[in-house]
Subunit: 244 residues, 2 copies
DNA sequence: AAGAATTTGTTCGTATGTATG
DNA sequence: GCATACATACGAACAAATTCT
């Protein structure tokens, strides 16, 4: 076993077990090199790996040593993005994945949501309405996107499943990176927004009524309508398989 | 921007764009250090990061330089495992995630499967039957597990969604690591196997008939029955929300 | 506000074990 | 079996950055 791997595992264990908490500091490189009886380059290679995994961050000149970071899905995001590139994941597959996870979150939310969470969802849709604007050309695309994210955050929070939350979040970002340019360029942006808002309102109503299967079906339909125009013709049938 | 980060990005870009294919070799460290005009340690730190991301592998003494690897979900697996530990993901959440993705894959498979893929599923269930054995105590737990994996592989292959395939695969391994000991220790292993086989047969029949929603519902029920005993009492209701 | 002290970033030289041909 | 080239690992040295006095 490599020396740097031993160092990685020791520090990783300390962090994941909770012996080291976010915000705490690692010893300096020179101290680690004494404590662990390895050379400085070995310590540095180990720190690079831990940094790549999103567990620590080190800055030049920081006298307190590397900082233990709170968990972030950055590493997950990175490996999924890599997956999407090297496996050439199609937009259709990504959207399909989102349709599945998002509708599951909504199904659960319809069952488990509190009144506060429902209010949160309503607030988000209200913000979407404000961003879409009333007069032609007054739409704030960016604010609309933020409100949309807030809505979905409220939903996955109500679903109670952090894994679903993180995965949908990661995949949403990957999807948006692929097509945000085309969405921005659409000349009927405002019409798209209005339709999207209406869809969201229907979903919320179903969640309020506690009808999970209906809410889930509506959400799949909404996502299909929104993203299908950007998906290859040959893949839309696989998406429609989720709609019935 | 750090020197090693530039090196990481350059090599990463070459790999993800396809300019470097799996099996091909990177220049040796000394050559990279000349080509990129950086020191040796910088090259090494970059290679460590790329290795942590599962993109390359280097061995001491290899005169051909680091090898570009085919994509593997190892990095994804690693970051999800980290996520499960530091976010303290419960078994309930993990099982719920599998219920959602697996049943979605089955729903799609019922629509899109070919005859060959259906035959593959039948073969896997046949292998499960063989592993469960006919006489008491003759069960081969490991072979049963392998056959079960083969079944789900055939299903996700038929679903046509590689992202679902990889995510279910990763989460299954995490779940099994958490409870395989308890499953092995169960004294009614063979009864569990027989019930599982029956569930699989029902799912296959629904897939054969093209009834996706039924197949999906059956698969959720099967997974619930199999894993619920290991899930905390307080979490089973969230699992049952997926059953209706 | 400015400088001292310490840390990380980076380079380089050296020694050692290992795989290839 | 041997020579060669390689990765692994160590440590000294200097530059750049940050914090603290």
């Amino acid at each position: 076993m490599r020396a740097y791997e031993r160092v990685v595992e020791q520090i990783e264990e300390a962090i994941e077990s909770g012996a080291l908490s976010p915000g705490e500091r690692l010893p300096s490189e020179r101290e680690l090199m004494v404590q662990l009886a390895v050379g400085r380059s070995t310590v540095r290679e180990a720190l690079r790996v831990l940094q790549a995994r999103g567990l620590v961050r080190s800055r030049p000149g920081d006298p307190h040593g590397a900082e233990v970071l709170p968990f972030s899905p950055a590493a997950l995001h990175k490996s999924m993005t890599t997956l999407a590139r090297v496996e050439q994941l199609s937009l259709g597959e990504l959207v399909q994945f989102r349709m599945v996870l998002d509708s599951a979150a909504i199904l659960l939310a319809a069952r488990l949501r509190t009144e506060e969470q429902l209010a949160e969802m309503n607030k988000a849709v209200e913000a979407m309405r404000a961003a879409a604007g009333t007069e032609p050309g007054a739409a704030d695309t960016e604010a609309f996107g933020r409100a949309d994210v807030a809505f979905h955050d409220a939903v996955v929070a109500a679903s109670g499943n952090k894994l679903i939350q993180i995965c949908t979040d990661v995949v949403r970002q990957i999807v948006l990176r692929q097509i945000s340019a085309r969405i921005d360029a659409a000349d009927d942006r405002q019409a798209l927004m209005r339709r999207s808002i209406q869809h969201h309102e229907e979903v919320i109503e179903a969640i309020r009524a506690g009808d999970g299967p209906l809410a889930a079906r509506l959400s799949r339909r909404a996502m299909y309508d929104y993203y299908a125009p950007y998906v290859k013709e040959s893949e839309t049938s696989a998406l429609r398989a989720l709609l019935e």
